[in-house]
Amino acid sequence: MIPGAFDYHSPRSLDEALSLLQQHAGDAKILAGGQSLIPAMRFRLAMPSILIDINRLDDLRYIEERGDHLAIGAMTLEHSLEDAAVVRSSYPLLHDTAVVIADPLVRNMATVGGNIAHADPANDHPGTMLAYDATVVAKGPKGERTIPIDDFFTGLFENAMGEDEILTEIRIPKPAANSGGAYTKFERKVGDYAISAAAVQLRLDGGTVAAARIGLTNVSAVPMRAKGAEAELVGKSISDAVIEAAGTAAAAECDPSPDLRGGVDYKRDITRVMVKRSIQQAVARAKGGK
């Protein structure tokens, strides 16, 4: 399994990367962590003629709270999320997600930006970022722009960025008081993509759900929010029945494909279970639990 030949560029600055991308528009692919792209190239499912390796752009590796959000540089390693104190303490949904992405070795190469930009519904970050109502920052020849996560995923492996743009940052709003989040993933074995997974971020007002967003993993062609499930929660006093209703709504609105991980009915029902378990955990955390 040997990749096809290509020309390789290793820009030392974002501007150099953007200029290379513009120069080779349509022929070039960005190499971030490469943990999806390189296997695809080894199978010759991807045969880019030009690779622009942005791993030397260390300026794009950071995790820090800035104003009202957590800013994550696109080239931040997944592994860094696991270790970051701010993620552990204040972004449990993100931490839950980071520790179940692929395996520990892959997480030493894979990047947050790459995981999102790949727009693979099987990846774990899209659902999480949908639940967080994150914002994607993209830079291109015309400058920098922000894209709400709800507008970012436009198709299977397709995103809202132009061919000449590079994803530079992800911004997660700081959770308000009484917020909680959780990611529950059911996988065939460690390192696998999810059979189904649910990312839940919610805010309580007393016993009532004041706000909730739910993202789902690997049960649709395009990374999706479970808006029906959210609707079952918001404004309701939390109870087993409400949680069950949210799970049932998610099962109905997701759109999984049958494969070796299971049939459609199975995946829908697992989605119900994952959504319920994530809600329960998110509620517990919103109430101050771990």
Partner: protein, 811 residues
């Protein structure tokens, strides 16, 4: 099956005289001090320092001057006519030296077909049609791995797709003929029976209870972490073929290569260097090996071929793929009396299993297991389908896994059906210790056993009764917990030459020991370790017999130019055969050593007795000669009339197989939401007779248990309706990681084999054989009250989920 001929009589003179009445113990026997490190010592492995420092030498590490690389074009269809192969573009590429097609092989002397180890035939490269997905179509030879990979993309093959036949029951209808090269236009390959049909029918007619069930034992793949590969190095001047090869059976492979190629056998050297796991997958001769050797013959240069993982999973021999229908009868008291089994064996496109010639279904008729039945009858039919050929091992080649799975599942179903505790039910149906040697209804003579001791020990280790109580409490709360038992009987050590051969070569194995003048030794064997630790265990056997420190014995295997001929390592046969040969060769040396000692001490042979590492004069132990002193004398001061030197060879032909056994108990919890099965505890009591090295035996059992867990819960080779393999990578063929693997809890009983020179039995495959029914029984035990009687392995979450939802259970 026991057969005493001249050879075994000769052996019995040297045998230790272990009696059939040796009781079961659980203490490892140690007779030598640690400085000698004979049998029973937890000796660190002698082979480890090289592996720990990256100095192992595997086939892909071999690099020869001027070496070329081969890559293979494979079929995208399971069944298709080949109209044309156009390799012109590939041949024009810089660095491409040759493209080898079936026509080329045909022209080179009909090398486009080869025999399988089951005396069937298999295509090396096709002339007119392909019969499985990922079949080898042609090969490219180039100056680098990368160029070869580019070049296979430039070979254009015009295929005309034919209907595949993926399901063996469909194949039996003969609507699509897989092997139209055969005279008989049928997919049915063979029919095989064991046991007594009339007696079995009679038992069923008298039965109080009969249970029936169908099982599918899926197609699985060993997926050793090292794939298969070869470096072939043909020297045109010397007319000599040197081959480095991932081979579990280098001597047999040399003979096959000689027969296929016409090269004289003494001009072929096969070296099986360090092997990165075998488990049976490196027993067959694959087309890639033959093509690689031809590529070296054609180019006159060394050629390397290393499989990709996808090629390994898609085209190498699979294991299992048995469709079983079983019926078990019990009398009015609930005692098991009979077993009736019909099985369809999906062989793929060639019968390329590695069973002994007389056993097309391997040792499947061991399927009465640990139970004392009145009668049994077993039928198996082999059938071709358009899938890769095989039926070889997955850490158990001879179909014992399938047999044990069926009988242990059936015994459990019967117990549940009768409302009896599955442990108590087994205890009252076991063959009793006083019945050994025991002749089974299908003709096996079990050498030894004590099944109740093993099960009682397992039950004690995890407090079985308390677990049953916990289960009842949990069930009352709607929680799903199951306890599964497997009390298996293994049959290994093939085998006695009367009945066992592969391609006519009898299944003995060999040892050759040479003691050097300074008391250091070289021991060579016909087997080939793939991680089993032969360099340590064989040294320990020789140390036990001769008193030489195990560290002073260099063990070598795998080079056909130097090692004595043997059938190789698979089917847990190394200890029963070559391990026995080690002891027997050592005893020959000891016999000579005694004469030398007598000469040195100036006493008669009969005045001497052996004491750990020396011969001493009876009654005056100060008068002694150590084995080292004797070795030195063998070269410097040997008796007149005696040949100098101290060495011996033994080709051991076992009088019978050995019958390791064990009892496993598995505790599972089931997630009602997802259907996930979590193994909470797994206790394994194994009895492999005398233990050579407990550390290594534990490692073998741990590994075997994980390879039992894997097909129980995770692994299956899946084909779609077109015959395309959907599980051709390790992303979809799910090898357990450290997270999925439970913390195994081991225990042992020791019931020595009465006929084996050191009372050992072989252990590598036992856990892979025994574990799956324990796990399946545990799952069904958790769900029986919901009306679930069987879930076929792998017991994946979707299967359990369906059973739960069908029973109205949800989360």
């Amino acid at each position: 099956m026991a057969q005493l001929d001249d050879r075994t009589e000769h052996h019995s003179e040297l045998a230790d005289g272990v009696s059939a009445q040796v009781p079961t113990t659980d203490e490892v026997q140690i007779k030598t001090p640690e400085s000698i490190g004979g049998m029973g010592h937890r000796k660190k492995r002698k082979e480890d320092p090289r592996f720990l420092q990256g100095k192992g030498n595997y086939v892909d590490d071999v690099k020869l001057p001027g070496m070329l690389y081969m890559d293979i074009v494979r079929s995208p269809y399971a069944h298709a006519k080949i109209n044309k192969i156009d390799a012109s573009a590939a041949l024009e590429m810089d660095g491409v030296l040759a493209v080898i097609t079936g026509e080329d092989l045909k022209a080179a002397g009909d090398l486009h077909w080869m025999p399988t180890l089951m005396s069937d035939t298999q295509m090396v490269l096709p002339i007119d049609k392909v019969v499985y997905y990922a079949q080898e179509v042609c090969a490219v030879v180039a100056t680098s791995r990368y160029i070869a990979a580019d070049a296979i993309e430039q070979v254009f093959v015009d295929y005309e797709p034919l209907d595949p036949v993926v399901d063996p029951f469909e194949a039996m209808k003969d609507e699509v003929i897989v092997r139209d090269d055969k005279e008989q236009k049928t997919n049915h390959i063979w029919h095989w029976e064991a046991g007594d049909k009339a007696a079995t029918d009679a038992v069923f007619n008298d039965a109080g209870t009969v249970v029936k069930e169908k099982f599918y034992i899926p197609r699985i793949h060993v997926a050793s972490i090292e794939t298969c590969g070869m470096v072939a190095n043909y020297d045109k001047v010397r007319e000599h073929m040197q081959i480095y090869m991932t081979s579990q059976a280098p001597h047999a492979h040399r003979t096959v290569f000689a027969l296929v190629s016409g090269l004289p056998e003494h001009k072929i050297q096969i070296i099986s260097p360090d092997i990165g796991g075998g488990f049976g997958g490196k027993v067959p001769v694959y087309p890639g090996y033959v093509i690689c050797a031809v590529a070296s013959l054609v180019t006159g240069k060394p050629v390397k071929w290393i499989e990709d993982r996808s090629e390994n999973l898609q085209a190498d021999s699979f294991a299992r793929d048995y469709h079983i229908e079983a019926e078990m009868a019990a009398d009015k008291d609930g005692k098991i009396t009979g077993l009736r089994v019909k099985t369809l064996s999906d062989c793929g496109a060639a019968d390329a299993a590695a069973n002994p010639s007389k056993f097309p279904a391997g040792l499947y008729s061991i399927c009465t297991g640990s139970y004392d039945l009145k009668a049994a009858h077993v039928e198996v039919d082999g059938v071709y389908t358009t899938k890769p050929p095989g039926g070889v091992a997955y850490r158990c080649s001879f179909r014992v896994t399938e047999a044990v799975h069926m009988v242990e599942r059936m015994a459990d179903i019967m117990a549940h059906e009768l409302g009896e505790d599955p442990a108590d039910y087994r205890l009252r149906n076991f063959i009793r210790p006083d019945q050994f040697p025991y002749t089974s209804p299908t003709g096996w003579e079990y050498d030894s056993g004590n099944y109740e001791a093993a099960l009682n020990k397992a039950m004690g280790m995890l407090d079985y009764r308390a677990l049953r109580k916990e289960q009842a409490e949990k069930r009352a709360k709607g929680e799903l917990m199951g306890i599964g038992i497997s009390s298996f009987t293994e049959v290994v050590g093939a085998g006695p030459s009367k009945d066992y051969d592969i391609l006519g070569i009898k299944m003995f194995d060999s040892a050759e020991i040479r003691i050097h003048p300074t008391g250091k030794a070289m021991a060579r064997f016909g087997t080939k370790s793939q991680g089993q630790g032969h360099e340590t265990t064989y040294a320990q056997i020789v140390a036990e017999e001769l008193g030489l420190p195990a560290d002073d014995i260099e063990v070598e295997e795998g080079d056909t130019d130097t090692a004595p001929y043997g059938l190789g390592t698979y089917a847990s046969r190394s200890t029963p055969t070559a391990g026995a040969a080690a002891a027997m060769a050592a005893r020959k040396i000891k016999a000579k050593a005694k004469k030398i000692a007598a000469h040195l001490l100036e006493v008669g042979d009969d005045d001497l007795e052996w004491n750990v590492d020396r011969f001493q004069v009876k009654g005056s132990p100060d008068q002694a000669k150590t084995i080292q002193e004797i070795a030195f004398a063998a070269y410097t001061n040997h008796p007149q009339g005696m040949e100098a030197g101290l060495e011996a060879v033994d080709y051991y032909d076992p009088p019978n197989l050995t019958f390791p056994f064990g009892s496993y108990i598995c505790v599972v919890d089931i997630d009602k939401g997802t259907g996930e099965v979590k193994v909470r505890r797994f206790v394994a009591i194994d009895d492999c007779g005398h233990i050579i090295n407990p550390l290594i035996v534990e490692g073998q059992i741990h590994g075997g248990l994980t390879m039992g867990l894997a097909p129980s819960l995770y692994e299956e080779i899946v084909y779609d309706e077109h015959g395309q393999n959907l599980t051709g990578t390790l992303a979809d063929y799910l090898l357990p990681t450290a997270v999925e693997s439970p913390k195994w809890e081991l225990g042992k009983t020791i019931t020595p084999s009465p006929h084996h020179p050191i009372g050992a039995k072989g252990v590598g495959e036992s856990p892979t054989v025994g574990a799956p029914p324990a796990i399946a029984n545990a799952v069904v035990d958790a769900l029986w009250h919901l009306g679930v009687r069987n879930i076929d392995i792998p017991i994946t979450p979707p299967k359990v989920w369906k059973a739960l939802r069908d029973a109205g259970v949800t989360d």
